[in-house]
Amino acid sequence: MIDRAIIVAICLAGAAAPALGEAVALRGARIMTADKAGTIENGTVLIDRGRIVSVGANVRVPSGASIVDVTGKTITPGFIATDSVIGMVEISGGADAAESSSRTPGITAGYDVQYAINPLSTTIPVARKGGVTRAIVMPNPGADGATFAGQAAILSLRDGVTADILPQVGAVWDMRAGAYGRGATFVQFRADIADVRRFAREPAAFTEGELVSREWSRADLEALVPIIKGEKPIAVRVDKASDILTLINVFAAEKLDLVLVGAAEGWIVAAEIARAGVPVAIDPSDNLPGDFDEIGATSDNAAKLHAAGVRLIIRGGSSAHDAGKVRYFAGMAIARGVPAEVALASVTATPAEIWGAADLGSIAAGKQADLAIWSGDPFEPATELSALYIGGAAQPLTSRQDALAARYIPAAAGKKQQE
């Protein structure tokens, strides 16, 4: 009962101050900052105009700020679901309600997920209920064995009819080893990169037909210019240790910014990955030899990569519907030896930094106020999400699933009436 009273108070406070200039102080919580400050006991977060003004054990709260008592709660940054198709997929299969890749060979690297995202997808409120505030949305490889899948984007999971998207934060490339053969795919990749470099220097080379590594579209070339300049990363989905080493070498030679995604056998070459400074996005539940590219898959991958000094991103539940479960995947990594603060950063600050959104992913002055308020340990299933702020605005925490439950399940209907 007491718990419920506090929850209501939080919701009201949030609704009263949705980034409109009235400061809000969340006071009394355990604050896991995912930043240099670490975990602050009995701390305060002051937010104003959508941003975090200050955080700490002794924050001066200006007069006129509303104070929300969150004593006994735990505050984390909102979680980031990496390598997700949320917003692009309503129903995964057989319903013509999913798009995660280009369907034309004419657009590959230029395929831009920002146009495929539906902010009204029912998957978004479900993910919010798992404390997720942003997603690194990544396309899958498209038609005709395309290796460049397209451009990733950072999606805000805020409630609303217009999507809040940071587009073109990086490219996604897939080896398509099965389609091309390893002896071809890297040769093709280097030829492609050479063409893009030429295009960046002399755009006329395109119209003059001198870029011949493939049948290029201008959109694809333009999309790759920031990549060859090293301004944005390329995420590569790969599992096999030997392929990871090849990628590290090729990307080093080409001076490209690599992010490994998948990396089931990453632990085998953890030292080489660490030395190259390449971040790795892994799924801690990926521990089976699903094919001969991941004979070495193990539950210890995350812990071993971390121990070697690799920057870790935890991904999990890459389906749009499972994005809200990313906190459990972080918990699984902790259970297998990843320190809790590293696991927290792996689903908050680390992906934000890697995809160039430095004002997301942690609780520190100047950052966007993406905050999840929990009843306890954020990685435990028994813990409830009490409130969620995105850019300082309190978010609704109800979904289509709740509406169905309220229609058919008496306990859920009762809960709805109380609210």
Binding site: E90, I91, S92, G93, G94, A95, A97, T122, T123, A241, A264, E265, W267, I268, S285, D286, N287, L288, P289, G290, D291, F292, I295, G296, A297, T298, S299, D300, N301, S319, A320, H321, D322, K325, Y328, G331, M332, I334, A335, R336, F379, E380, P381, A382, T383, E384, Q401, D402, L404, A405, Y408, I409, P410, A411, A412, G414, K415
Partner: protein, 446 residues
């Protein structure tokens, strides 16, 4: 061999979910026989028996492969191996009622996709055990998740997918060596989208009405076959009709893949038309819409904690499904249908519990543990021997590092018939699976 002592007590509870015991002279018999193990006691742990209330600071003592005693203040023989369970938890071994390990194996290469005989709408004649590859590394990983028994089912691409097999999760060269002794058979059936998509490759059924017609025609044939059989009239043994007749006679329980509430209602009418008791609806995303009916019909439901939206018929799945079924009195279970989820059925149970708590109605650990232990044992007709911790039952149990409903819980030790099959304190330096043995890089040991 079987401990009859507890059979009577359990059967009072399990009622209509208990399929008839398998024929003792059946072909392809089990050759499973547990190795010997020392008398062992886990002392000082929190114990969830799946039968009664949680017992704190308890001792679980087992010898000769059977549970001997549970409780506080148990006197142990001098030769007992004592394991300190302080701060840890003990539960029965986890039972997955919907697995494809060994029939859709890792590695998932085409030659190892042996779980669905997609050559016709009715392949009731095939038996999953004849596809099962005991070297699937997935068995080993499931053991490390505390899974001691699994029902291996055929896939759901056709109306009748074939017979399931219940196995103990032990290393074995042959399927016979892991087959649960005298476990009743099950038969896989499938509603909805999957049999229709199968038809897209040029066969019937093409529609949901085609699905129903296919079920009905098959059972009409089976009725005639069964009638002749019961009269003792001579007829050539028909493997397909043997399975269907077994469903009608109650010797074979049904595992029906079905998502939508309206389709489950059709299947209930089908069972009435042909006079058989449905065993378990699997997946059953919309079971919460008809929870009262399912409870009244005595039909079990095996589902996930929170999977939805992967196809249209799963669009209405809700995280409160499991809790709603439990509250309505449905025989409720969690299943995996996945080589990954099977490793964390305890976490699935935790998620389902927490959904209940979120609407202000707690479900106890004592109830939730049954979703992954005793309840599937009852539906598989093996609850007289496993599924809960009670004197005389198989010593199938897990020592957890902490509360099994925590994301941090790790199965530290797993016992099958008293034999240690997982021990994180003394990790094996070799994999059980021959497939992984000797690989230059070998990760899946852990």
């Amino acid at each position: 061999m079987i401990v009859r002592a507890c059979l009577l007590g359990v059967s009072l509870v399990i009622g209509s979910w208990l399929p008839a015991a398998a024929q003792t002279n059946a072909p392809y018999p089990s050759t499973y026989s547990p190795a010997s193990s020392p008398p062992t006691a886990i002392v000082g742990a929190t114990v969830l028996t799946a039968e009664g209330p949680v017992i704190d600071q308890a001792t679980v003592f087992f010898r000769d492969g059977k549970i001997a005693a549970i409780g506080q203040g148990i006197e142990l023989p001098a030769d007992a191996l004592v394991i300190d369970g302080t701060g840890k938890w003990v539960t029965p071994g986890i039972i997955d009622i919907h697995s494809h390990l060994g029939v859709f194996s890792s590695p998932g290469v085409p030659s190892m996709r042996n779980g669905n005989e997609k050559t016709g709408k009715n392949t009731a004649e095939v038996w999953a055990e004849h596809s099962l590859w005991p070297q699937d590394p997935g068995f080993e990983m499931a053991r490390r998740g505390g899974v001691t028994t699994l029902a291996i089912l055929p896939g759901s691409a056709n109306l009748f997918g074939g017979r399931s097999v219940t196995v103990k999760n032990v290393p074995s060269i042959s399927v016979q060596g892991m087959k649960f002794p005298d476990a009743p058979y099950g038969a896989k059936m499938a509603c909805g989208e999957n049999p229709i998509f199968y038809a897209a490759r040029g066969n019937d059924p093409f529609t949901r009405m085609g699905n129903m017609a296919g079920f009905r025609s098959a059972f009409i044939d089976a009725q005639a076959y069964l009638e002749k059989k019961q009269k003792g009239e001579s007829q050539k043994t028909d493997l397909r009709l043997e399975t269907l007749a077994g469903i009608l006679s109650g010797e074979i329980t049904t595992h029906i893949h079905c998502y939508r509430a309206d389709e489950m209602m059709q299947m209930i009418d089908l069972s009435r038309e042909f006079g058989f008791q449905i065993g378990t609806f699997h997946h059953a995303s919309e079971a919460y819409k008809i929870a009262g009916v399912l409870a009244e019909e005595g039909i079990g439901v095996a589902t996930w904690a929170d999977r939805w939206g992967f196809k249209l018929e799963a669009y209405d799945g809700v995280p409160l499904n499991v809790a709603a079924l439990e509250w309505a009195g449905v025989h409720t279970m969690l299943h995996s249908d996945s080589a990954v989820l099977v490793q964390r059925l305890n976490l699935e149970a935790a998620m389902a519990r927490s959904s209940a708590a979120r609407v202000g109605e707690e479900i106890s650990a004592e109830v939730a543990i049954r979703w992954i232990t005793l309840n599937p044992a009852e539906s598989l007709g093996i609850a007289d021997r496993t599924g809960s911790l009670a004197p005389g039952k198989m010593a199938d149990l897990v020592l957890w590092s902490t509360d099994p409903f925590s994301v941090y819980a790790v199965a530290e030790k797993v016992f099958v018939d008293g034999v240690t099959v997982v021990d994180r304190d003394a990790p094996a330096d070799e994999p059980d699976s021959d497939f992984l043995l000797g690989q230059p890089v070998m990760g899946a040991l852990k």
